[in-house]
């Protein structure tokens, strides 16, 4: 393998969720495989992704984003001659079925999968698979409850909690009234930050997180918390990787980043699940445990929904109202 010097190599610019590409092995693998330097920008929320993408999409070669907002960007990421889709052949069977059913563009692959669930502090609360959403919040009492900062994810959670028709739009589920009814006066925070000191607070009771974030929080707190993949309320969310142009290095880098090899590295880094569902390379025992649960529940769990721009705008609007409501509650 020739020694590759990164100085004059073309740069492939990636916009990705934070923490996905931090592992230097990934950068190095990209450099050695594609003779290109990997440069990546990170975002913390779908809203931030959309803002940056809409403003600077010409600067990005590859984007990694949530499947929930695929409907908002799919018209801007079409690349006809990409072979990226071929990597889905190696996906887990159930995952592949879902990939195919989603009818993504050929320049789109799954990057990683996640399952959301309830991370709880057993000192303050005991969340059982049999508990519905209302009883979980009820058990939290006046302790701290944290919810992921994503209106689509929360709308889906409420829809599941309310046993809504899976084929119906989730936008009607997320209303201020429904949200207030569920939280029952809990001390609620909305954030995606997994390093927030909120989790170290002894009053922390329960949070609704993506599994990767939950794993990081577990590790930061010496595995003193419990993560539950709820049989009814948990669902799978997917992050997509899209190749945005036909530059040779870009196609290569996109392929490398969505390859089993890289994702095996990445999943040990960010604790999300590779669409290849390969547990053999998982090193962290806690993650392995969750991973196995995920695998076990994979056939029964529902998947996230992709929303339209209009739906997203509506959900985002409601979400802002909910945040304002919580801020007022907090001030009073």
């Amino acid at each position: 393998m020739p020694i590759v010097s990164g100085a004059n190599l073309p740069v492939v610019n990636v916009l990705s969720w934070w923490g996905y590409l931090d592992n230097p092995q990934v950068t190095k693998l990209v450099q050695t495989t594609c003779h290109a330097n990997l440069s990546y920008d990170e975002y913390y929320s779908n809203a931030e992704f959309l803002r940056r993408f809409n403003h600077e999409k010409q600067n990005y070669d590859v984007i990694i984003f949530s499947n929930t907002i695929y409907g908002l960007v799919k018209n801007q990421i079409g690349v006809t001659n990409s072979n990226l889709w071929r990597q889905s052949d190696a996906y887990n069977k159930i995952v592949r079925q879902h990939y195919l059913a989603s009818k993504y563009s050929p320049n789109i692959d799954y990057f990683e999968l996640s399952v959301n669930g309830f991370l709880s502090n057993p000192k303050n609360i005991s969340v059982l698979p049999s508990n519905d959403l209302t009883s979980i919040f009820n058990k939290a009492g006046k302790n701290t409850v944290i919810i992921v900062d994503d209106p689509v994810e929360v709308a889906k959670l409420i829809a599941l909690a309310m046993n809504k028709d899976p084929n119906a739009s989730i936008t009607s589920s997320l209303t201020l009234a429904n949200f207030v009814k569920i939280i029952q006066g809990n001390n609620v925070y909305i954030t995606n930050e997994q390093d927030s000191s909120l989790y170290n607070n002894p009053n922390f009771a329960v949070s609704f997180n993506w599994s990767g974030d939950a794993m990081n929080i577990l590790k930061n707190n010496n595995n003193s918390y419990v993560f539950l993949i709820h049989p009814k309320l948990s669902y799978i969310t997917a992050d997509l990787l899209a190749q945005l142009n036909n530059k040779p290095a870009v196609g290569c880098v996109a392929s490398v980043l969505s390859s089993r090899k890289v994702l095996n590295i990445v999943q040990n880094q960010d604790f999300y699940f590779s669409p290849y569902v390969d547990t053999s390379k998982v090193t962290d025992p806690q993650f392995k445990l969750i991973y196995k649960k995920f695998v076990a529940m994979l056939p029964t769990l529902s998947w996230d929904d992709t929303v339209s721009a209009k739906e997203y705008a509506q959900l985002n609007n409601t979400w802002k109202r909910i945040k304002i409501y919580l801020a007022k509650q907090s001030d009073s």
Partner: protein, 755 residues
Amino acid sequence: MKITNLNDLKLSIGRAISLSFVVIFAITVFIIFVTYKEFEYKRQELNQQQILSASDVYQSNLSEQLSVIASSDEFMDYLRSGKETRAQMYPDFIYQILSLKVKSVMGMKISTLDGQELFNYGKTSPDQINLKVCYLNQELNPQLGECSYQWTLYLSRTTLAKDLQSINPAIQECKQCRSVPIFANPYFQNFIVQDISSIAIPIAVKTAGANVIYLYILLIFVMLIILATWNKYKIKATLNRFVADPLEKIGAHLKAGDNLLEDDDAIQEIHYLTTQINDWKNQVNEAEQQKHEAEIGRLASQVAHDIRSPVAALNAVSQDLAQLPENRRIMIRNAAQRINDIANNLLHYYRQKTTHGFNNKIPEDIMQAELISYFVETIISEKREQFSGLNIEFSVQIASDSYGVFAKVNPIEFKRVLSNLMNNAVEAIEQNGKVEIAITKNSGFIIVAIKDNGRGIPHELLPRVVEGGVTYGKKEGSGLGLSSAVKQIEAWGGQFSIHSVVNQGTSVEIILPQAFQPEWFATQLFVPNHTTIVILDDDDNIHQIWKRKFEKSIKHNEKVNIIDFYKPEELLEWHKTNSPIKAIYLMDYELIGSPLNGLDVVKQLDIASSSILVTSRYEDADIREICQSLQMKIIPKNYSAYIPIEIIYDKPTFIFLDDSEVLTSAWKKYAELNGRKVIVFNDVNDFLFMVQFYPTDTLIYIDSDLGNDVKGQDVAKNLYDKGYRKIYLATGYDKDQFPEIPWVVGIVGKNFPIQ
């Protein structure tokens, strides 16, 4: 401090002033020093506070600006971007960074917490601030946010001082100043301060007052010295001018035997002060002496009062001792006179030492009606005492109708005249002799005769002796005494006569017009038949006098009921159950052993209209005033033995009031011859006192001109108001000369009205 002389005084004052100056100076210096130290401490504290405040403002301002930058999308995107994007965003990012308008930030560096440098700009410096940048949901949140970045700011000390100065212009950099630590409170609002250099810069707050205070202190200091010095010399000059120099002058003049300079104000003042001090000293001594003598006087007065009553009794008794040999009667009378003299002299002494005597209230140019017998008795008592070493007999004869006679004189001058005339009489007696004084009344005049059996005055010298300038038989006489007495007597409307025979004696007569008795004086005691006489006196002698007098006055068909009381409480108790319709109360004033006096009892029982005060203190002006206000009469106690008592009809045919004794006597005689019961009065006051004992249907005749400007019609109006309706005006004038008088039945002449 004992000052022995003037130099010591001056030296002592000088020392005291100097010491005071030093003490005030020391205290002032101490106060200024303490105040200055306190001021300096406060000033430094304030300056430190100002620097800290400026530092806080600087910190707050820097923190705010950093927060604005760190909250921008450009900043967050830059931090979260890869190298490629950061390169593209660099211009915009720099633009954001340059919006930081804090000059003292000379450079900065942004890196991830694991050390990856994301941004580096400007110069580095050992003075730096390391901040953690934490986000929660795209917003800075040092409490709950995820802290992924470190922001290092490099500071320039020089520019930092200027930044602080721009916040507070009073702050200035100075090389010599003590370095003041900045960022003592490491708080940067939306960031976590990870590390901050210990930055101290030599700055100070320039306060305008810092130097001014020295000026003020100096000014106060100078003013104090000037004031103290001025005070010192002013006090010294004043002392010299008003005390030291005059005293020195006095000393020098006295030493030289010169007269004092009386035109010198200071000497005059000292002289005045000395005189005043002496006067004050004398006044204090006199007051003490007077107090002492007043005590003795009061005691003497009491003794005199106590003596007079038994003497009066003795005199009364002696008049009835006809069965005794004459030499025995004379012995008793002389003994009584001697006791009376002692009493009079004691009282005289008391009056001289106190201001209670009525004589002291009367100026020498005022004339008033005075009881002549009182003055004669008083003077003769004095003379007996004065000439007790000589073998001279003094005797006084007062006719019974003359005892209560008044004349208008000046009491002081009258006593002086009497005294001089009696002295002349004594001096005319060689060895043994006799001075006789007699008081008689004749046709509206009172005659005081003084007769001695001395050497007499030759007939040819008498006119010159009376005119003055010539004395006879007196070693040191000026010859003015007799002529002065004559002038004085004539001034009172009187006459003076002298008759002398060599080797037989001289007699002089003072003839004065009789005056109306004052309202308070009872000349005669009229007692209606069947009247109750109530006597209150603590001395049984007085009770005995009255008893004998009434026994002598009552005829076979007349009767009065006498009730004796010795204590006022007994009378008060008796009066509760006994209130006689017809009663006359004879009340003593001083009642030994009781807090009440006779006037108190009269007031309590409301019996003033039927009471007479019998007292030896009748000359007391206060008592007279009270009696006049109560319309009460007074009987001098020594007069009680002589006062005529007349028992009058209780049911008269009529009552007649006229000032003419001839006419009233004529009416009375005519009435008796015709079997009529007529009561006559010459004195209006006696009439008004007595008329109350008669019913309102009593027939009354009143003269129209009662003398002393008293009109009969006015007295009639007084009676009419009291309910009397049968009143006639008896006048010598034609009835047509009178206007209509509704309160009289008619106007008649002076003829006896009833045939």
